[in-house]
């Protein structure tokens, strides 16, 4: 393929199919937030450190601020908006609420997606494994202790 400044991409987000024209320079996180108006995925930094933009991309957790939308052509993306189904919260969402694992809620979507990725691949993680899985998600409100408890509770079916 010859270099292009933009392209129409087809992406599946949370089970819905979208076709949109994107500039090559557009980050996936901006595409999700501005073009698809899925504003649940957040931006908290500009160096790829904070993880607020975490989504699941073709089955793996990634930071959507370091992928170009144009690269995502043909991909399946799961965001926080797809966690609940038919109005029923996902066990992780319930656990977060019950354990007070969120205060301002800004890091929460990214945390949930990292946690979901962990539990999808490791259904019975140890506390240490949970902490490692969340290393790439910064929270300034909770100190993480309740978040780790919430993920463990969800993994044990306690939510």
């Amino acid at each position: 393929m010859d270099p292009v400044t933009g392209k129409t991409i087809a992406v599946n987000v949370n089970g819905d199919q979208y076709e949109r024209e994107v500039e090559a320079r557009q980050l996936l996180v901006h595409f999700l937030r501005d073009d698809l108006e899925l504003t649940g995925t957040h931006i908290g930094c500009d160096t790829g450190n904070c993880g607020a933009c975490t989504v699941i991309y073709d089955g793996t957790a990634i930071k959507s601020c370091m992928l170009l939308a144009i690269q995502a052509d043909g991909a399946r993306i799961d965001t926080v908006e797809g966690l609940a189904s038919d109005g029923e919260l996902h066990p992780l969402q319930r656990a977060f609420s019950e354990t007070h694992a969120l205060q301002c809620g800004y890091c929460t979507p990214g945390m949930l997606m990292s946690a979901k990725h962990l539990l999808d691949n490791n259904p019975e993680p140890t506390q240490h494994e949970v902490r490692r899985a969340l290393q790439g998600n910064i929270c300034r409100c909770t100190g993480y202790w309740n978040i780790v408890e919430a993920v463990l509770a969800a993994s044990k079916g306690e939510a």
């Binding site: 500009d46 926080v80 100190g143």
Partner: protein, 826 residues
């Protein structure tokens, strides 16, 4: 990983009456449902048709004359809607009101740099374009010519004769200075058995760096001159006071609306300059204007916590370890513009003695400007810096005089039987049992096996240390303290507002003047109202956020200073009681009985002695709204109540700088165990205990969450977080790559405990809390110092101790030892 200790009977200090209902329960948070689904509305989520995106052009120099600003190339770019420069700002606005005295009040502070850039990153021009990317592209085309000037970054040099002057109009870098003196420090010195001197203690510059950056979306109604400012500013009362005169408009013309906010911690108080620029642009360009701050911008320009250095500290001590007082000089570096300052020059005095009983205190306090980012009231504002200082003093004195750090604290702590306790400057600590909290913290940290653990660590080549950090979280401040800094200021007291109504279909709706950023105000307000109205929190709808148009705010409205539990809930309680009283009178009129016979329970207004005679809320709402024929003429009932909570404050005595400056005093005592690798200076916090007392806990989970969060932020500030500048005024930690914020792997195990010492000054005995007071910083510093006893007896004298600093102390103990001396008097 965490364990919350439920106190036994003996640990609960006081229980007044048993309250049935929701107060004291961790009810499910109303905010959660939308937040866990990513349906929170944060400022960058908002869109308006035709809106333009702002990008600020920022000075690359810390100090420079602006020779020219040329926006012509930017304007040529397709999709650019317009620009704003300092020249326009100087014509269209007046400088922001300065709180300080002459000559500091001559500082000219505008929303864009006018004539000169005073810190690196100061906005010099703004560009608005159809997309974020275009605005960024266009900003690169703005050509600014600068003439660099000498840079001042060292606060201790700011008053030198040859120091660069940041603001020409006052002609000096001093924002404010004054002497605070209570008791008789000279006679205390004469009475002392030892005088411990500490040359220098430095509290580092850092901030809580909320994950969501600041932002705004501003619309302007041309026909009415009304601005609609959607933003995550957390203190609209202050923003309005700053912006209205600057924009030459009335207060009500600035409508502030907030929705969900991704953390603030005081860093979203001083965003009025950026919002002012957006107001001007919205008016000029005749379209909504959207601004989102980027992480690097937040670190460079908005805002830092106060940096403070304490010099020439002298502490008179008796032989038995009783500390009589202290004297020192303090220099507070507020960066390039004061803004909320110089309030930091007085707010520390809410906790003048810290947790201790010393009575003779003197501080010669000066606040200066430098070419660094302006400061803002970062979490723990000004009290944290001072409490770190008092804790360092206690810890260093104990260290030098070979006193047991636990015993010396207990000897000097204010005792629970002395509460309420009047401090040397007239503040009143409401309640608390510090000794008991210390015992709890030590129990939780395993104090009994400390020496065993120390020996075991030594076998592995590690230095183990235990540190104690005591702190206070003074809440609900009396703004009259501003008059102690500047007698001309017309601020005093405090307030907060709430409205509550019973709607047509029986729904109870509350609006708050507060601006929550994760503290769960919707939930807690509904608990309080539900108890008063005899229904459940689910029956109460609390509107999200803040809106000037709700008319449920006042001059001090916002969320800051650890006061919601007192002012916000005080307002909710007042409003709910008014509504309840009206509901009872209305029901009585309908049911034909005296109002005193009516009780509110089970979602009904019913006769106490005949529960069948009951009206559901919907009936009451319908009668007042649409079905009011036949009501008694003298029945004055609207079912729409507004209440302004006002704490009982007086204007303090300006001569003596004396008076009650805060209503409540929550407290925290932390203990921390660190293991230092003496070969590298790297260390690990291997265990941690936090005990807090915020009086009656309205929602225990929320309160515990605040303690967790404050602890984590303090740990970050203690171990890594610092806004370090080089000599050219470049910020060396402008993003999360270099400014390390702790993550889940960094956190130690946490053992938490609590006491409830009710405040005698509040309706529910609850105390404001949330800021915390930085106990983690005090504890980590003390732990490192304890660990290094075996390695050179170093003194920890900086608040932030990353591995490199620990290593330097280990390499050169003398560099710290020479800062401290003990004079034997007897």
């Amino acid at each position: 990983m965490t364990e919350t200790v439920t106190p036994t009977e003996a640990l609960v200090v006081e229980e007044t009456e048993t309250r049935p209902g929701f107060i004291g329960q961790s009810v499910p948070r109303k905010e959660d449902r939308r937040l866990v689904q990513g349906e929170g509305i944060f400022i960058d989520d908002m869109k308006r048709h035709g809106m333009g995106f702002v990008h600020f052009v920022r000075s690359p120099y810390a100090h420079a004359r602006i020779v020219s600003v040329d926006v012509s190339k930017a304007l040529e770019l397709d999709g650019v809607y317009g620009t704003l420069t300092g020249d326009e700002v100087a014509i269209q606005t007046d400088p922001y009101f300065e709180l300080t005295v002459p000559p500091g009040n001559e500082i000219k502070d505008y929303c864009l740099a006018v004539g000169k850039a005073h810190y690196m990153g100061e906005p010099v021009a703004a560009v608005v374009a159809a997309t974020r990317d275009l605005a960024r592209d266009a900003a690169e085309l703005v050509e600014v010519e600068y003439e660099p000037l000498p840079v001042l970054v060292d606060p201790e040099r700011a008053q030198d004769a040859d120091a660069p002057v940041i603001h020409e109009d006052p002609g000096s870098n001093v924002v404010w200075s004054g002497l605070f003196s209570w008791g008789e420090i000279e006679s205390a010195m004469a009475e002392a058995d030892h005088v411990v001197r500490i040359q220098r203690l430095h509290f580092d510059r850092f901030s809580s760096t909320p994950l969501e950056c600041s932002g705004g979306l501003v619309e302007f109604d041309r026909p009415t001159g009304q601005w609609h400012i959607y933003s995550n500013n957390q203190f609209p009362g202050f923003a309005a006071i700053m912006m209205a005169p600057a924009l030459r408009t009335g207060i009500d013309k600035l409508r502030f609306i907030s929705h969900d906010i991704g953390g603030a911690f005081g860093n979203k108080i001083c965003t009025h300059p950026q919002l002012t620029a957006c107001c001007l642009l919205a008016r000029k360009l005749k379209r909504p204007v959207q601004w989102t701050e980027w992480r690097t911008e937040q670190h460079m320009t908005n805002t830092h916590g106060n940096e403070r250095v304490f010099l020439d500290v002298e502490v008179p001590v008796k032989a038995d370890g009783t500390m009589l007082g202290f004297r020192c000089r303090a220099i507070d570096d507020c960066g390039a513009y004061p803004r909320y300052e110089p309030l930091g020059c007085i707010i520390w005095s809410q906790v003048t003695p810290g947790m201790y009983r010393w009575r003779h205190i003197e501080i010669d306090f000066t606040q200066i400007c430098t070419n660094k980012s302006p400061v803002g009231p970062n979490r723990g504002y000004s009290r944290m810096q001072h409490l770190w200082f008092t804790e360092r003093v206690i810890d260093i004195v104990a260290h030098e005089l070979d006193l047991d750090p636990v015993e010396v604290r207990k000897r000097n702590y204010i005792r629970s039987d002395e509460m309420p306790y009047e401090t040397p400057n007239g503040c009143v600590y409401d309640s608390g049992d510090y000794s008991k909290m210390l015992d709890m913290a030590l129990e939780l940290i395993g104090y009994g096996v400390l020496e065993e653990r120390r020996a075991e660590a030594a076998e592995r080549g590690k230095l183990l240390g235990l540190g104690i950090g005591s702190t206070l979280d003074s809440g609900t401040n009396n703004f009259g303290q501003s008059q102690l800094l500047n007698p001309e200021l017309q601020f005093s007291g405090n307030n907060e507002v709430a409205t509550i109504k019973l709607d047509l279909l029986g729904e109870v709706v509350i609006t708050l003047g507060t601006v929550p950023q994760g503290q769960g105000h919707e939930t807690v307000a509904s608990q309080v109202a539900a108890e008063i109205l005899g229904c459940t929190p689910d029956d109460i709808h609390v509107r999200v956020g803040h809106d000037t148009y709700w008319n449920s705010h006042s001059g001090f409205s916002g969320t800051y200073a650890s006061q919601f539990a007192v002012t916000g809930l005080g307002a909710v309680k007042g409003a709910a009681e008014k509504l309840a009283e009206e509901m009872r009178r209305l029901a009585a009129a309908v049911l034909g009985c005296p109002a005193d016979d009516i009780e509110l329970a089970g979602g009904m207004a019913r006769m106490r002695d005949n529960r069948e005679a009951a009206l559901p809320f919907m009936a009451l709402g319908a009668i007042i709204n649409v079905n009011n024929a036949g009501l008694p003429e003298d029945l004055d009932v609207t079912l729409n109540a507004r209440y302004v909570y006002r704490p009982p404050f007086q204007v303090p005595d300006k001569e003596r700088k004396f008076g009650n400056l805060t209503l409540t005093y929550a407290s925290q005592i932390h203990a921390c165990l660190v293991e230092v690798d003496p070969e590298t200076g790297a260390y690990e916090i291997v265990n941690y205990a936090a005990v807090d007392d915020c009086g009656k806990r309205i929602h225990p989970q929320i309160v515990e969450g605040q303690v967790h969060g404050a602890t984590a932020q303090a740990i970050g500030a203690a171990t890594h977080e610092t806004f370090a500048y080089d000599e050219d005024g470049n910020l060396l930690t402008p993003n999360f790559y270099d400014y390390h914020v702790p993550h889940a792997l960094d956190m130690p195990p946490l053992h938490a405990g609590y006491l409830e010492s009710p405040s005698p000054f509040t309706a529910y005995g609850a105390k404001g809390m949330g800021e915390g007071g930085g106990a983690g910083i005090h504890a980590v510093c003390a732990a490192l110092q304890d660990a290094m006893r075996a390695a050179g007896n170093q003194i920890v004298h900086d608040s932030c101790n990353p591995p490199w600093r620990v290593w330097e102390m280990l390499q050169d103990p003398e560099s710290t030892r020479r800062l401290v001396s003990v004079e034997e008097r007897r």
